[in-house]
């Protein structure tokens, strides 16, 4: 179990992590989701004591990571794939790490074959591809057979088979063995199929913390697109406490909080002509965008033709972002 309380990290005047508190429970996979620069890696580094919190505390199984007598059997961490001496072979890298805890070569060989590194284990790490480096990082995290696994972007650079393997591994460790698994990603789709629980972070603050289904359904509110020559009139009649209406372009409205049937009935009751009435299902990406759009550190310029969709996501964020908090 990982418990963070009021965890804060500042680098100079920049606040990377801003007073976050959360708990990662054993027996389930907890996803840590957020855009680049949101504070995921900094938080994970603070858990294993690589970064010192500016204030606040974080404990693993009841005590700070550094206080454990056997850190590597408590926590296995993959924080960045290339935290490896490039001149050393993969096998010697693992042997050296294992030896610090008195773990023998037998276990090293086990994790090598478990991560599919057998054929390259004797090669120097400098020549490894991103995916191989990632497998080595996972092997290093597993070598102590830890109670708690912390993986920062574990599927980065992995081939589809590797992605599937990581997914099955973490699910197995959490569900069947009751271990604590905390993994970060900036990919909502990956989280949706891997995690049981989600903690969403943006700009150093927690935006959402709950079961995956709940977080997604709260973030993806059903949207109805309706086109009418009397759009302004219709918008006025639709608007209510639970319903937000966003004019997208001339004669086109995006309605949140009402079903297509309700919109149609209100229009009929008021004698308003409709040219289009389309229920839109919120996608995972929309949910993610709406959760984090306010909190994205590095915005990309919108492509031509994408403005309307972007505007919609922004408008949704103003409401759902507040709800989630």
């Amino acid at each position: 179990m990982i418990e963070a309380h009021d965890l804060t990290k500042r680098y100079g005047s920049k606040t990377a992590v801003d007073g976050i508190s959360f708990t990662v429970q054993p027996g389930r996979v907890t996803g840590f989701l957020g855009p680049n620069g949101a504070g995921k890696s900094t938080t994970m580094r603070m858990i294993v004591g690589l970064d010192r919190p500016t204030h606040g505390t974080v404990t693993v199984n009841g005590r700070p990571y550094a206080e454990h007598r056997s850190p590597l059997t408590q926590v296995g961490a993959l924080l960045e794939a290339k935290a490896v001496h490039t001149g050393r072979s993969a096998r010697n890298h693992l042997r050296a790490i294992a030896a610090t805890h008195g773990i023998g070569d037998k276990r090293v060989n086990e994790v090598i074959s478990m991560t599919g590194l057998d054929t390259v284990a004797k090669r120097r790490v400098g020549g490894f591809s991103l995916g191989m480096g990632q497998r080595l990082g996972i092997a290093a995290a597993l070598v102590g057979d830890p109670q708690t696994l912390i993986l920062d972007e574990p599927v980065n650079g992995l081939d589809p088979e590797g992605v599937l393997w990581v997914r099955n591994l973490v699910k197995y460790l959490a569900a069947s063995e009751g271990r604590t698994v905390f993994l970060s990603s900036h990919l909502m789709s990956e989280m949706a199929v891997t995690a049981d629980h989600l903690i969403v972070i943006g700009r150093g603050k927690i935006i959402a913390d709950g079961p995956v289904d709940t977080v997604i359904s709260e973030a993806t509110r059903a949207t109805v697109r309706v086109r009418s020559p009397q759009a302004t009139d219709l918008a006025a009649r639709l608007a209510g406490p639970a319903v937000t209406v966003t004019p997208a372009e001339d004669g086109l409205l995006e309605v949140h909080g009402a079903t297509a049937a309700e919109v149609g009935e209100i229009a009929a009751a008021s004698g308003i002509v409709l040219h289009e009435l389309t229920p839109l299902q919120g996608s995972l990406e929309d949910a993610y965008m709406s959760l984090t759009s306010e909190a994205v550190e590095y915005h990309s310029a919108a492509l031509p033709g994408e403005e309307s969709r972007h505007a919609g996501a922004h408008a949704a964020a103003t409401t759902t972002g507040e709800d989630a908090r």
């Binding site: 580094r45 294993v48 004591g49 690589l50 970064d51 010192r52 990571y65 550094a66 454990h68 007598r69 056997s70 850190p71 590597l72 059997t73 961490a77 924080l79 960045e80 290339k82 935290a83 490896v84 001496h85 490039t86 001149g87 050393r88 072979s89 010697n92 890298h93 042997r95 050296a96 790490i97 294992a98 030896a99 610090t100 805890h101 008195g102 773990i103 023998g104 037998k106 276990r107 086990e110 074959s113 478990m114 991560t115 599919g116 057998d118 054929t119 390259v120 995916g131 290093a140 102590g144 057979d145 081939d159 088979e161 590797g162 393997w165 099955n168 591994l169 197995y172 460790l173 063995e177």
Partner: protein, 290 residues
């Protein structure tokens, strides 16, 4: 390349009980790290070859010095059979200095330090165990280098009366002292590496201190520099590689007001440098984000 992975995600073939972080385990881990990179074998091989080769070559030059009648130096000023080793070590020490610095800075330049500190979150035990492995390894190789060099000197030049008597206690101290000095210089360099965390910066500083500073300090005719000269880490430490007789000869020619350190005092000065630098490095290691 096969990327096949085990279909069964996790196995418990090896029960991992009573395995914990201990200093003995840590030494073992650092030992594997030290000997599994090429820079270690490269620098130690260069050191070994340089020491042995230079001792033989310089000894050859010494025995071929012309006699005073043929215009050579006056009797008694040339010809201590320990001199070739001293000169060889002045150069060959650079190899172990490079090794000492790289032992720690390469972890920073490659990112390995984050893996190391995750395994040893208290951090300082890693700094100490790495230092111990370095010192023990360099000392062992230096003993071998000195032994081979002295054996070859005896083999080739004993007939010309140019060799050392390795059973003479007066000679054993400088011979062992040479190996001790080399291990200590490696540690000095390691301390600077731990402080600077950057290979190029640490190497430039170490080479500056060991090579350039002695030349500058003795060449510039400014009293404070000349008085500070004996306290330079390399200069002070090398006192330990000299016989008492050699030190007395050197002291006789040193300028007025310049301190003449004994072998042990000189070594003490080098240790003091290390204590200060490694102490600051340890405090910073504990405090800084990795």
């Amino acid at each position: 390349m096969s990327t096949a992975v085990a279909t069964e995600p996790h196995r418990h073939a090896t029960p991992l009980k009573d395995q914990k972080l201990g200093f003995g385990h840590l030494l073992r881990g650092e030992w594997i790290k030290f000997w599994s990179v090429r820079s270690t074998t490269w620098t130690l091989s260069i050191f070994l070859i340089a020491t042995v080769g230079l001792v033989v070559l310089i000894s050859l030059a010494f025995v071929n010095v012309p006699s005073p009648e043929e215009g050579g130096p006056p009797e008694g000023t040339a010809g201590n059979p320990l001199d070739p080793l001293s000169i060889a070590v002045t150069l060959a020490q650079l190899a172990v200095a490079v090794l000492g610095a790289l032992t720690i800075t390469s972890e920073y330049s490659t990112g390995m330090i984050r893996s190391s500190l995750t395994a040893v979150p208290k951090r300082l035990p890693m700094l100490w165990s790495k230092a111990i492995v370095l010192v023990v390894s360099v000392f062992a190789v230096a003993v071998v280098a000195v032994a081979i060099a002295m054996a070859l000197q005896w083999l080739f030049f004993d007939s010309q009366g140019f060799s050392v008597d390795a059973t003479d206690p007066e000679i054993i101290r400088p011979l062992v002292g040479t190996a001790v000095y080399l291990a200590t210089i490696a540690l000095f360099s390691y301390s600077l590496g731990a402080l600077m965390r950057h290979s190029a910066a640490a190497l430039a500083t170490v080479l500056g201190v060991l090579l350039v500073a002695p030349i500058l300090f003795s060449a510039i005719p400014w009293k404070p520099l000349q008085q500070a000269f004996p306290f330079l880490p390399g200069v002070a430490g090398q006192q330990f590689t000299q016989t008492t007789e050699q030190l007395e000869v050197a002291a006789a020619s040193s300028g007025p007001g310049v301190v003449d350190l004994t072998a042990w005092a000189g070594y003490g000065v080098l240790i003091a440098w290390i204590v200060v630098i490694l102490g600051v490095a340890a405090v910073l290691l504990k405090r800084r984000d990795a």
